[in-house]
């Protein structure tokens, strides 16, 4: 089934869908411009704006539900952005509204959670203004009806991410991490920008409707080039290989930021881009789609391996995020069936990963901001709500049967297996490693002996933090089954991204499904033996070279450093040398030459009138002689 045509729309809630973007943007503006005056109620305004945006999204969703399937792609004209080139408008279709619901829904929960988490922080108002800014930019990214609007949102979320990673900018590590995230994203954004330029020169338009309509007529090479450039952008934003290095450092930001931006929403923008452009630039069997799947599989393994060795709970979760987005990327490269599971996994992952991150935040809140899991242990009795919700998130992410992650991840694995057994089995292996590292995290944190620091007095977090956790964990249980069983999500997305030829049937008992479960069980058992039953040393043992390999993020930073940073430094040194010795040398040389010559020439001015007279006489004689000579010729 092909995507349906886009219909111009006005009126109704969809007609004012721009409010979704405008409200949080207004919130951010008020909080940033209002300054200290808004300190007292700033966080409440941030939450209200986010909730209001969520309400508009829900109403627009309901209005969309009221239409028949072939009417569900509505476009709203807003204004002429660049006359004759970009007409800014919003595209409200099943895909974008699904994202809008996730962003504003999970975003609002995280806003509420942050009231508690940031209650002692003097910069809480600033924090909420950045969060609102992020929500606005992310909504522009997914709702825009053209690539330029998407790009503006893309840069906007990058800015918000930069500001929030470096929120505690007095810590040098946070400031550096923010810069690293920004610079690595620049590489990806560069690719996206060139890709959009290429779309403009090839199709003469940047709006989704016209571009997708004529995309099939362009040359294959151009389509592949656009696809790969867009993928480069997606890799930067979604922390996929080879641009993954920033995500682990991004954990320097406050935990709600890690949950909202670096787990649930922003890092999935790359998946959105690939799925949105999928039919046009990543058709099944094309080179670009193949590269997408390869990147996805490589990242899902790399992220999982990194996750196994991290003692920092947030970094472990960050590795896990990389890995899960790798699954989504893999799905996004597999055509309409893959899109359904990629978006499904994206939504369920948004819930259970936000759940896990906020749980980690709750643990840190209880343990004086300690992030080292080796100093946790035995916390399940003292943090009962956090433990239960975290455990549900854990079961969801490892794909425990009938929980959210089970349906969506298994769907991706099955689809990949159907497409290419190699990709499928690698994805199964990744799921097994997920079982190990997530179990390790749970056992190190909640089970075993207490290994706390002396001044730690763990206590359960306030309700403002636990209620969002409970809501998210309920989503982590039921959402996957709801979306996948009965083809709910597939039917919903079909008008936007094209549906599969025949309905997807979800089989509970399949070879890869069982293999996944067995591997996950083995991983979990291995983790229990190593971290549950056995004593966990407080200081990390040195470990084998494989452990070091994983601890050092698969030497990603070392590779970047030796391949890019060092040659770059040499290049700048060469340029500085050339500038100092070459350019400056010529300029200074000329000046010194003139100076030296004049210094010597002025010695002629002796002050003796008679010597001047002699030179005048001599000069006159020369002139006279010359005149005589010329006169004779």
């Amino acid at each position: 089934m092909e995507p349906v045509e886009i219909i111009q729309h006005s009126g109704g809630v969809i007609g004012v869908a721009w409010l979704m973007i405008a409200l949080p943007l207004l919130g951010a503006a008020i909080l940033l411009l209002g300054g200290r005056r808004t300190d007292r109620w700033g966080h409440l305004l941030g939450v209200v704006m986010s909730l209001a945006s969520f309400a508009v999204a829900v109403l627009a969703f309901v209005e969309l539900l009221g239409m028949s399937g072939d009417q569900r792609r509505r476009e709203i004209e807003l204004f002429q952005f660049i006359p004759g080139m970009v007409d800014m408008g919003l595209l409200i279709d099943p895909l974008s509204i699904a994202f809008a619901l996730l962003i504003t829904g999970v975003g609002s929960l995280i806003h509420i959670y942050s009231i508690g988490y940031m209650s002692h922080d003097p910069g809480r108002r600033r924090f909420f203004s950045y969060l609102n800014l992020f929500v606005a930019a992310m909504l522009l990214l997914v709702l825009a009806d053209n690539y330029v609007g998407l790009y503006i949102g893309w840069e906007g979320v990058g800015l918000a991410s930069y500001l929030l990673i470096g929120f505690w900018q007095h810590k040098p590590s946070a400031a550096t991490a923010a810069q690293k995230a920004f610079i690595v994203n620049r590489v990806g954004d560069f690719g996206l920008a060139i890709g959009v330029f290429l779309i403009w020169t090839t199709f003469g338009s940047v709006a989704y409707g016209p571009v997708f309509q004529v995309a099939g007529q362009a040359e294959q090479g151009v389509l592949t080039a656009i696809g790969l450039l867009l993928l480069l952008g997606a890799c930067g934003k979604s922390a996929q290989l080879p641009l993954q290095s920033w995500l682990l450092d991004a954990m320097e930001g406050p935990t709600p930021v890690s949950a909202l931006i670096h787990a649930a929403t922003m890092v999935t923008a790359g998946v959105y881009l690939v799925v949105r452009s999928g039919a046009a630039f990543f058709p099944v069997g094309s080179t670009a789609a193949l590269v997408v799947t390869v990147v996805g599989v490589a990242t899902l393994l790399a992220g999982a391996i990194i996750g196994t060795a991290k003692d920092d709970i947030k970094k472990g979760l960050a590795g896990s995020t990389m890995s899960q987005i790798g699954y989504m990327m893999l799905g996004a490269g597999l055509g309409p069936v893959g899109y359904v599971f990629a978006i499904g996994h994206l939504i369920t992952h948004g819930f259970f990963k936000a759940n896990l991150f906020l749980g980690a935040g709750s643990i840190m809140h209880a343990m004086n901001d300690e992030v080292d899991m080796r100093k946790y242990g035995g916390l399940r009795k003292l943090l009962p709500v956090t433990f239960v919700t975290f455990f549900i998130g854990y079961l969801a992410i490892i794909g425990f049967p009938l929980l959210s992650g089970y349906f969506t991840k298994d769907g991706i694995i099955e689809t990949a297996m159907h497409h290419s057994p190699v990709l499928g089995w690698l994805a199964v292996l990744g799921a097994g490693i997920t079982g190990f590292y997530m179990s390790r995290m749970v056992f190190m944190t909640f089970f075993g002996q207490k290994r706390w620091a002396e001044d730690a007095h763990p206590h359960e977090s306030p309700a403002v933090m636990t209620v969002p956790l409970i809501i998210l964990s309920i989503g982590s249980i039921f959402l996957g089954g709801y979306l996948v069983l009965g083809n709910t999500l597939a039917n919903w997305l079909a008008p936007a991204v094209g549906g599969p030829e025949e309905p997807i049937e979800f089989h509970f008992v399949t070879t890869p499904g069982i293999a996944t479960l067995v591997l996950v069980a083995i991983g979990a058992a291995f983790a229990w033996m190593k971290y549950g039953r056995a004593e966990v040393p407080v200081v990390a043992p040195r470990g084998s070279f494989v452990t070091t390999f994983a601890r050092r993020d698969l030497y990603g930073d070392a590779i970047n450093e030796s391949l890019l940073m060092r040659p770059g430094q040499w290049l700048t040194r060469l340029a500085v040398f050339f500038d100092n010795r070459g350019v400056d040398g010529v300029v200074n040389g000329i000046a010194a030459g003139i100076g030296g010559t004049s210094g010597r020439l002025r010695r002629i001015q002796t002050g003796f009138a008679r010597s001047y007279a002699l030179s005048i006489l001599f000069g006159a004689a020369v002139v006279a002689g010359a005149l005589l000579l010329v006169g004779n010729i």
């Binding site: 010695r603 001015q605 002796t606 009138a609 007279a613």
Partner: protein, 98 residues
């Protein structure tokens, strides 16, 4: 016929030029300059006579006027220098230099 006048003019000019170059006393140098000017005047007048027009004579009058003005200013400077430095030697007045 005019050759004699021109030779005389050249002789006078040469004497004046050598005087300017070799003498130190400012007054003598000054007189030598006058000598050179008058040598020029003689040459002008000679050529005027030879060519039968009055241009040279006219120029000679100009030279005389300029020479008179120059004497006035120049002597004033020399007297002032002598008063302050107790010397009329052109080699002593060499402060204005590099």
């Amino acid at each position: 016929m005019t050759t004699h006048y021109l030779v005389l003019s050249a002789l006078l000019f040469a004497i004046g030029a050598v005087g300017v170059l070799v003498r130190r006393n400012a007054i003598v140098v000054f007189m030598c300059v006058e000598l050179m000017l008058n040598a020029c005047n003689l040459a002008f007048v000679t050529f005027a006579r030879q060519h039968g027009n009055l241009d040279g004579q006219l120029i000679a009058f100009f030279v005389m006027v300029v020479a008179a003005a120059e004497v006035v200013v120049g002597l004033a400077i020399i007297v002032t220098i002598f008063r302050t430095r107790r010397s009329a030697s052109v080699d002593d007045a060499n402060l204005l230099k590099y």
